[in-house]
């Protein structure tokens, strides 16, 4: 059956068609749609499938992995930096193995489109000594998902599939099973203490040998099944051999076609473990070898022969950032495969200056107002503002954030900064999703050691940035952030976001007074109840429908709104006055007081219908 699908949807269908009935994970671009799609298929076809978001990637990995040691076919989904969080579990699972198929899907983001690092999960698979599959298209992703589950079951090891963003978010017509004949494996945990509870030293050492034997066997299998047939079919078209993994294959093939380059091309479907000796033997027929892959030189490092192999390490290809066909063209030129013009040069003879459009908080987003209030009260020069991973990271543009490291680090860095620079007030911000993910252990740490900082939990009751996945508290309201904080013996100060700015500012003034009072010890925790402007279930209860217009007589072009408040509809017009883009204004009313020093923002009575 042919079906137009996005890569992540194709992966979800692949899981269902591989009889996977337990899927867990944590949202993260570009992986987020996989689990959501499994949930949709489950509902649509009424399948007995467990598909739920975990509190973080480590938890998600472990839930799914446990299913696989009980004989079920299972999968865990996450983005590449999420794999860092799950890595502790992965490293041990690689020793212990599994009985049912277990597919770890770690989606990479070459080009840093929405990730803080460009790390390569294939290299992580190599580090953990588990096989990894690298799809080049959504069709590959569907096929390899099914294949990966089978491979995992056959060799009793976790298998990773590593799609990159250009696979996850690509769309094409997929050839897939027409019928879903779903047969979940029966889950039956068979006690095997030496295996499932292996301890150092003897137990784990033995498993270490087994893992090495497994990876050797898979390497031989990789040669026989994937690589040898391709090498045997090569025609010796060129002195240069091209080895390409995942999207590298797609980019290389297309570049060759467009430039009319004839060369021997091998698609590396399983970039680890590679049968290195067998591959190197085949190098003898060539003068040089070009490896095309991203983002790290994973295949290149394995097959390395400094006399022959070129790629990222010797800068024949780009060293960092997303691959472009232009990079491959340049590499072809260096290796003598191509001598023509750069067809990928822009056809414009002059450059056009376009103002940048940096990522911004949505119009109507309450984060903007809360950060504005925090900055107004705690001041730029007197405080340090560690923050965290989520939509609110975009308050960077308001100058309201000083540090970003990784999920949950706002809290622990607030501890560290408060120790290192006690002359400043440390005001940390974290979202509710991130607090549940990894903000709780560092807060316990801060409470027990009595660190002095203010932690503001921005609770919009959704994991907004990745597409509004459900948070634990939203799903089950007994999980109350306030009660979690109070369980640590610390008062949780509550505030409810208001579109009347003075209420937010007054609240934080009160917090500042409490924090500076002699009685206060240790961290001060605030939970601000908010909403997400894109959350259709909740936003109507919050947004007053108060649209703003600018009184041009009052606007003195002072830049306050465009630099400190930073709401996207506000921009200068040809007369040098601020104007509000009526198509963008969300009617939140947040700018109607305090933001403008001359009170130029007025209620648009006609559009607002007098407000709600």
């Amino acid at each position: 059956m042919k079906e137009t699908l996005m890569g992540n949807d194709a992966i979800a269908w692949g899981l269902i068609h591989a009889d996977v009935d337990m899927v867990s994970g944590y949202p993260g671009t570009p992986s987020s749609e996989i689990l959501g799609m499994v949930q949709k298929i489950k509902t649509k076809l009424k399948l007995p499938v467990y598909a739920e978001w975990a509190t973080n990637e480590k938890v998600g990995f472990e839930v799914a992995y446990a299913g696989a040691i009980a004989g079920k076919r299972t999968a865990a989904t996450m983005k590449q930096v999420g794999l860092n969080v799950a890595s502790d579990a992965l490293m041990s699972a690689a020793y212990i193995g599994n009985t049912g198929g277990f597919l770890l899907i770690a989606a990479d983001d070459p080009g840093f489109h929405s990730s803080q690092t460009e790390q390569d999960s294939r290299v992580f698979a190599k580090f953990a000594r588990i096989p990894v599959l690298d799809p080049s298209t959504p069709q590959d992703a569907y096929d390899m998902t099914r294949y990966g589950v089978e491979l995992s079951e056959r060799f009793q090891t976790p298998v990773m599939m590593r799609p990159v963003m250009r696979v996850c978010h690509a769309r094409e017509i997929i050839e897939m099973e027409a019928e879903t004949d779903f047969h979940a494996r029966e889950g039956r945990f068979v006690r095997n203490i030496p295996r499932w509870a292996a301890v150092p030293r003897a137990g784990r050492l033995e498993q270490g040998y087994e893992a090495l034997d497994r990876i050797e066997a898979i390497s031989a299998y990789n040669w026989e099944e994937h690589l040898k047939p391709q090498f045997d079919a090569l025609e010796g078209k060129s002195d240069v051999l091209i080895l390409a993994s995942g999207t590298g294959f797609a980019f290389a093939r297309e570049t060759m076609e467009e430039l009319g380059v004839e060369a021997d091309l091998v698609k590396v479907e399983m970039p680890y473990p590679l049968p290195v000796e067998e591959i190197r033997k085949r190098f003898e027929n060539y003068e040089s070898v070009l490896v095309v892959e991203e983002p790290y030189p994973c295949v290149e490092e394995q097959v390395m022969d400094p006399a022959k192999v070129h790629g990222r390490l010797d800068k024949t290809m780009n060293r960092i950032d997303e691959m472009k066909k232009e990079h491959i063209l340049e590499a072809f030129k260096k290796l003598g495969l191509y001598e023509g013009e750069n067809v990928y040069a822009p056809k414009l003879s002059f450059s056009i200056d376009v103002p940048p459009r940096p990522p911004a908080l949505c119009p109507g987003c309450p984060h903007r107002d809360i950060y504005y209030a925090i900055m107004k009260v705690f001041k730029k020069n007197k405080s340090i503002y560690p923050s965290d991973i989520g939509c609110y990271t975009l308050a960077l543009s308001q100058g309201a954030i000083d540090t970003i490291l990784c999920m949950g680090a706002s809290v622990s860095m607030a501890s560290g900064l408060s120790i290192a620079d006690p002359s400043k007030t440390v005001v940390a911000t974290i979202g509710d999703g991130t607090f549940f993910h990894s903000g709780i252990p560092p807060l316990i740490n801060a409470v027990y050691q009595g660190h002095r900082f203010i932690l503001v939990i921005l609770d919009n009751s959704t994991i907004a940035m990745t597409g509004r996945q459900v948070t634990p508290e939203r799903f089950n309201q007994t999980l109350d952030i306030g009660r979690i904080v109070e369980g640590m013996g610390v008062k949780c100060y509550e505030h409810t976001y208001s579109h009347e700015m003075h209420k937010n500012i007054d609240f934080f003034k009160g917090i500042k007074n409490i924090y500076e009072s002699e009685e206060h010890r240790g961290p001060l925790v605030v939970r601000v109840r908010q909403f997400c402007i894109l959350d259709n279930e909740r936003k109507d209860d919050w947004v007053p429908g108060e649209y703003a217009v600018v009184d041009p007589e009052l606007c003195v072009a002072c830049d306050q709104c465009t630099t400190v408040y930073k709401c996207p509809p506000m921009a200068y017009n040809d007369e040098g006055k601020i104007e509000i883009d009526p198509f963008l204004c969300a009617g939140c009313g947040g700018c109607l007081e305090i933001i403008c020093p001359t009170d130029a923002f007025k209620l648009d009575e006609e559009k607002s219908g007098g407000g709600k």
Binding site: K2, T4, T29, H113, S114, S136, T137, R166, H169, A170, R171, E172, I173, T247, F249, A250, F251, R253, E254, K324, K325, E326, V343, Y344, A345, P346, K347, L348, S349, F350, I352, V354, P355, R357, P358, P359, A360, L361, C362, P363, C391, T393, L394, A464, M465, I533, L534, P568, P582, F583, L584
Partner: protein, 179 residues
């Protein structure tokens, strides 16, 4: 046939919706295609562009100097993506001011914002409006009005009639513009 289209705008304008419409059109005719989305971290307001390559391609990204068509839902986003166009390619953009002179492309601009403000169509239909302008101005655009209509019905039957109305409004409005 090989035909590469870039659709550019900012978050909330319905760029991804348009790429889905074109994907459906290609799928209905059993044409091979590959599409992809380029967006950063913002949900609303950040730059968004989508590539869709119809024909026998193996990677979904459109490189510089390659696109046959650029549809801009916003003038600045269209200008930002101009390097992707091939010589003699078409750019169809919502724009409040004319594009620079001397571009090596066929340029079709229309002030869709002003028309939406005047109540000619709801701003939520901007994406479909610009698709209508494309149908009216780009001779080698690979899909017919009927094919677009079919895809609009497939993608969301509930609002298909409104969308098709906007489409036809745009086609009538845009006949003959070229600057």
């Amino acid at each position: 046939m090989k035909y590469q289209t870039v659709i550019a705008g900012f978050g909330g304008q319905g760029v991804v919706f348009l790429v889905k419409v074109l994907a459906l059109c290609a799928g209905n005719r059993e044409l091979k295609f590959l599409g992809t989305e380029n967006h950063g971290m913002s949900q609303r307001g950040g730059a968004v562009s989508c590539d869709i390559k119809i024909g026998d391609f193996s990677n979904p990204v459109i490189d510089r100097g390659q696109a046959d068509l650029l549809i801009g839902l916003d003038a600045n986003e269209a200008l930002r993506n101009l390097p992707l166009l091939k010589e003699g390619g078409h750019v169809v953009s919502n724009a409040q001011e004319p594009f620079p002179e001397g571009l090596p492309f066929h340029v079709h601009t229309i002030d869709a914002n002003a028309r939406a403000l005047a109540g000619e169509f709801p701003i939520q239909g901007l994406n479909v409006f610009m698709l209508g302008v494309t149908l009216a101005t780009v001779p080698d655009f690979p899909f017919s009005i009927e094919e677009i209509e079919t895809a609009l019905r497939q993608i969301n039957a509930k609002v298909a009639d409104q969308n098709i109305e906007v489409l036809h409004h745009a086609i009538a409005d845009a006949k003959g513009i070229e600057n």
